[in-house]
Amino acid sequence: MPKGIDREGLRRMVAAGAQLVEVLPAEEYAEDHLPGAISIPLRHIDAEGAKVLDKDRAVIVNCWDSA
């Protein structure tokens, strides 16, 4: 089950090597994204799209908010 994480937790985990993924459309990622985030829009999260991620490391996803 995915776990929630707050801002400070995110910063700690990214500093420790977690992968940060923005799942918004690419245009919105291009305008503004968290430092170090990579773009995988929600519709591209499948076996092919997730190949850029390491399954052995933590992954944190974000969009605008919880909507």
Binding site: I5, R7, L10, C63
Partner: protein, 161 residues
């Protein structure tokens, strides 16, 4: 959107998945740096005057007016001990009867804007609504500063020039 993404990643075999549920809005509202084409554009938080005078609800208007004027201000923001914004006093409110409590004299519940709003958007809003100044707060209502129309218009103008 991110909850669905997190569950989808788990379905693909990722075992350690987290969801930053409050997302980019929370990050931007905290005034933290971003990357991207908007990253270097001026925003409300960077342009806001952080030294705007503040006051408490139980102060008398005369004291607050003196303090504001001594600092060259014609505005003050009413906050609590956590800097959560309760009201705004512009020139009109500051000119009221001096014995009034701030809780009575202030304009309660002023509209506020988040620090990440781009200067060009703020300039349009402030000009459209004829706002000489407006309060910038974090998403949990804490005061960042007072944004002056002249500052945001100048920043937006220099950006588009």
């Amino acid at each position: 959107m991110s909850p669905r993404a997190a569950w989808r990643l788990e379905s693909l075999g990722f075992r350690d998945v987290y969801d930053y549920t409050v997302g980019k809005l929370d990050w931007l509202a905290a005034g933290l740096p971003t990357e991207g084409t908007n990253a270097q554009k001026p925003r409300a938080g960077a342009l806001a005057c952080l030294d705007v005078p503040t006051c408490r609800l139980d102060e008398r208007l005369t004291e607050v007016r003196q303090r504001a004027q001594a600092g060259g201000w014609n505005a003050a923001v009413a906050v609590n001990e956590e800097r959560v914004v309760f009201g705004l006093l512009r020139a009109k409110e500051l000119a009221g009867a001096g014995e009034q409590l701030i809780s009575v004299a202030m304009r309660p519940g002023p509209s506020t804007f988040r620090p990440y709003v781009l200067a060009e958007e703020m300039a349009k809003t402030m000009l459209d609504h004829k706002l000489e100044s407006t309060v910038v707060t974090t998403s949990d209502g804490r005061l960042v500063g007072l944004l002056l129309q002249k500052d945001v218009v100048a920043a937006a103008g220099s950006k588009s020039a």
